[in-house]
C-alpha cells in the first residue's frame, strides 16, 4: 500500500516533468525506501542500490522488482536502499538511466539489460566509475565487465517446454511456433532450446511460425488464421505465457479445444491456473523469487567486500498439471 502511494506521488512528478520538458523519453524514477530513516541511529552502514529494469510494464519484470524489494526489506531492513528505474523497453533510455545512477553515486547497480549488445556501454561506464554492477535475469554479451550475473539459462526453458510438448504429442505431429520480438536475447535462447529438442524428434514438424511480440491478442489472431487455413495442428509452442493464453483463447469453444497441446514460459498466475484447469499442458517457471533473493544476497556480499561467483544459476522449473498445486508456485 505504501509503495503504491509513493509510486503514485512519483508518477505525478513524472507527469509534471513530462509537461515541463515537452515530451516523453524520461526515466521514471521510483524510490522504494526500506522503512524508516533510523538507520544512522542504529549505527549501521546503509547502501544505495540502483535497480535498472529494461521494462517495468512486463509482468515478469514487475514481479521481479517486487520480489527484490520485498526480500531486501525483509532480510536487511534499512541497510539497503533502492532507486528503481524503468528503461521503457529502449536501450538508450536504459543507458541514460544508468548514467544518472552513476552520477548519483549509488553504491551498486543491478540491471536487467534490454539488449545484449547495446547495454554494454552502460556497464562499461559503471565499471569506469568504480561501481560494481550485477546483471539479473537477462545478461549482456560482454561477461568480462560485470561483477556477476544471476539468472537462469533461457535455453533450458525452451528445452523444458518443447520436451514436455513433444512427449505429449507422442513424438510426432505438427507444431506451430510463436515467437517473441525478434532479436531479444530470451527469444533467441528459448528458440535455441526448442530446436535442440526437435533434433531428437525427426517426426515433429514446425508447420508455421509467427512473431507475436509476447502479445496475447496477436497470438490469438495468428492461431485463428492458422486454424482457418485448415492446417493440421497438434501443438503450439509459445515463447511466453501471454501468447500461450492467446493461442488457447483462439481455439477455446471450437472443435479443436483439448486436441491441441499448448505450452508457455514464465508461469504467470493466469497460466498457472490454466495449467491446473488442463487448458495449457505446461508452463516454465523462471524463478523470480529465487533470482531476487540470489541477486540481493550477491549485492550484499559485494557491498561488504566479499567475492561472488561470476555466474549464479537459478534453474528453471517445469510446471505441469502434476505439480501445479505445489505451494511453491502458488505464492
Amino acid at each position: 500500500m505504501k509503495k503504491k502511494f509513493i509510486s503514485a506521488i512519483l508518477s505525478v512528478m513524472m507527469v509534471g516533468s513530462l509537461l515541463l520538458t515537452g515530451c516523453g523519453g524520461e526515466n521514471s524514477n521510483e524510490t522504494a525506501g526500506a522503512g524508516s530513516t533510523s538507520a544512522a541511529a542504529e549505527n549501521k552502514e546503509t547502501f544505495t542500490i540502483g535497480f535498472s529494469d529494461f521494462s517495468l510494464t512486463a509482468e515478469y519484470q514487475a514481479k521481479l522488482r517486487d520480489e527484490i524489494l520485498d526480500y531486501a526489506e525483509k532480510t536487511y531492513g534499512d541497510e539497503l536502499e533502492f532507486v528503481v528505474l524503468d528503461g521503457e523497453s529502449d536501450s538508450d533510455t536504459q543507458n541514460s538511466g544508468i548514467d544518472n545512477l552513476i552520477s548519483q553515486k549509488v553504491d551498486l547497480i543491478i540491471m536487467v539489460p534490454f539488449d545484449a549488445e547495446q547495454q554494454i556501454p552502460a556497464v562499461q561506464a559503471a565499471v569506469d566509475a568504480g561501481i560494481p554492477l550485477l546483471e539479473v535475469c537477462l545478461q549482456t554479451a560482454d561477461d568480462g565487465l560485470r561483477t556477476s550475473f544471476v539468472g537462469s539459462d533461457d535455453t533450458s526453458s525452451g528445452v523444458l517446454e518443447m520436451q514436455c510438448l513433444a512427449e505429449a504429442m507422442g513424438g510426432k505431429g505438427n507444431v506451430v511456433y510463436l515467437h517473441g520480438p525478434t532479436g531479444q536475447d530470451s527469444e533467441i535462447k528459448r528458440h535455441e532450446g526448442a530446436n535442440q529438442v526437435l533434433e531428437d524428434y525427426p517426426d515433429i514438424e514446425v508447420a508455421a511460425e509467427s512473431v507475436c511480440n509476447w502479445d496475447r491478442a496477436e497470438a490469438m489472431t495468428a492461431i485463428e488464421n492458422y486454424v482457418q487455413s485448415g492446417m493440421q495442428i497438434d501443438a503450439i509452442f509459445c515463447e511466453n505465457d501471454e501468447m500461450a493464453l492467446g493461442a488457447y483463447a483462439a481455439i477455446e469453444g471450437t472443435d479443436l479445444e483439448g486436441k491441441i497441446h499448448i505450452g508457455g514460459i514464465d508461469c504467470i498466475s493466469d497460466a498457472l491456473q490454466a495449467v491446473k484447469d488442463g487448458k495449457l499442458d505446461c508452463t516454465v517457471l523462471q524463478d523470480a523469487k529465487l533470482q531476487a533473493s540470489e541477486v540481493v544476497e550477491a549485492a550484499y556480499k559485494v557491498l561488504h567486500g566479499e567475492d561472488v561467483e561470476e555466474y549464479i544459476e537459478v534453474p528453471y522449473q517445469l510446471v505441469t498439471k502434476d505439480n501445479a498445486d505445489d505451494e511453491y508456485f502458488n505464492n
Binding site: V15, C23, L56, T57, N225
Partner: protein, 318 residues
C-alpha cells in the same frame, strides 16, 4: 473550359480502394482454398472489429485535421478500468461495466479535446502526451499486471455470438452505422468537414470550432473505451500493455481509405475498407504461411501506395 474528362486520380481516390480489397480477396481465394469460407469471413470480421472501431473514431479526428495518437493507451486504460468491475465476485451488471469503460475513454478524449481546442497545442503533441499519461496511469493502476478473472457475462461481449454472428462484429456494425450517420448525414458531420477543410472559414460561417474539436476527441475516446472492453473480453484479460501501436493501424486504415491527414476529406466507408484490407492481408498471408517479416513489408507498401494515390488526386484538384 473545364475538364470534364475521365479523371484517373479522382476515380482512384473514390473507388480504387474497393478494387484493391476485392482484388486481394480474389487472389487469396485462388491461393488458399480455405480463405473464401463463411467461417473465415466471420473470422476476418471478428479480427477487424477492434481496430475497425478505433479507426472510426480516428477518421472523425483526421477529418477535422487533427490526429489522435493516444488511442492505443486509451484502449488499455479503458480496458483495465472497465475490467476492474467485470469480476464474477462482486459482480456488477454488464451495462455498468460497459458504461464505466466508455466513460474512462470519454474522459481521456475530453482532456485531449480541451487541450487541442483551447490551448492551441498541436494535436500531435497533445495526444502524444495523453498517450504517455494514459499508459502510465494504466500501469500505475494495475501495477504492471493484467486484470483477469473476468465474469461470464463480460466474456459475452467479446466472445459470444448472437445467432451465428459474433458479438464484436455486431458492435462494429453498430459503430459503423452511427459513425456514418454522424459524419455524412448530420449537420455535426458537415461541421466536422468544415473545420478540417478551412477552420477560419468555418468560424466565419458561425460554427463553434472548439465544440466540434472537443466532440471528435471525445468520440474517439468513447470508441477506444468500447474497443478496450472488446479486446479484454476477447483475450480474457485486460493487459496494461495491450494495444500499443494501434494508433498507427487506425491512422493507416483511415489513410488507406482515402481520409486526408491534412483534414477536410475522408469518410467512414473508406476507413472500414482500409481496416479490412490490413486484416485480410495478414489473415491471408498467415494462411499462406508467409513470414511475419514479409507481412510487415507488404503492409508498408500498401500504406505508402494509398497515400501516393491521395497525393496524386490532391495534385489533380488544384
Amino acid at each position: 473550359m473545364k475538364e470534364k474528362n475521365f479523371d484517373l486520380g479522382n476515380f482512384l481516390r473514390k473507388f480504387g480502394i474497393y478494387f484493391v480489397l476485392i482484388l486481394m480477396m480474389i487472389i487469396l481465394s485462388f491461393l488458399s482454398k480455405s480463405f473464401m469460407t463463411v467461417s473465415n469471413m466471420m473470422n476476418i470480421l471478428r479480427q477487424v472489429s477492434v481496430s475497425g472501431i478505433v479507426a472510426m473514431g480516428m477518421t472523425l479526428v483526421l477529418v477535422t485535421g487533427g490526429i489522435d495518437l493516444s488511442v492505443g493507451s486509451m484502449i488499455a486504460f479503458a480496458g483495465v478500468i472497465g475490467c476492474t468491475f467485470a469480476h464474477p465476485d462482486p459482480s456488477y451488471p454488464l451495462i455498468v461495466v460497459i458504461l464505466i469503460g466508455l466513460a474512462a475513454g470519454a474522459l481521456c478524449g475530453l482532456v485531449n479535446g480541451l487541450i487541442v481546442a483551447y490551448t492551441g497545442v498541436n494535436p500531435f503533441i497533445a495526444t502524444m502526451g495523453m498517450m504517455t499519461i494514459a499508459r502510465g496511469a494504466t500501469l500505475l493502476f494495475t501495477n504492471g499486471r493484467p486484470i483477469n478473472d473476468l465474469s461470464e457475462s463480460f466474456q459475452f461481449i467479446g466472445r459470444g455470438t448472437v445467432g451465428f454472428i459474433s458479438t464484436p462484429i455486431l458492435f462494429l456494425i453498430a459503430v459503423c452505422i452511427i459513425s456514418a450517420l454522424i459524419l455524412h448525414k448530420t449537420s455535426l458531420g458537415r461541421y466536422i468537414f468544415a473545420v478540417g477543410g478551412n477552420e477560419n472559414a468555418a468560424k466565419v460561417s458561425g460554427i463553434n470550432v472548439k465544440k466540434i474539436k472537443i466532440f471528435v476527441y471525445i468520440y474517439s475516446g468513447i470508441l477506444c473505451g468500447l474497443a478496450g472492453l472488446l479486446l479484454a473480453s476477447r483475450t480474457n484479460a485486460a493487459a496494461p500493455n495491450a494495444a500499443s501501436g494501434y494508433e498507427l493501424d487506425a491512422i493507416a486504415a483511415g489513410v488507406i481509405g482515402g481520409t486526408s491527414t491534412s483534414g477536410g476529406r475522408g469518410g467512414v466507408y473508406g476507413t472500414i475498407v482500409g481496416a479490412l484490407i490490413m486484416v485480410v492481408l495478414s489473415n491471408g498471408l498467415d494462411m499462406l504461411n508467409v513470414s511475419s517479416y514479409i507481412q510487415q513489408i507488404v503492409k508498408g507498401i500498401i500504406i505508402i501506395g494509398a497515400v501516393c494515390i491521395d497525393q496524386f488526386s490532391k495534385g489533380k484538384d488544384s
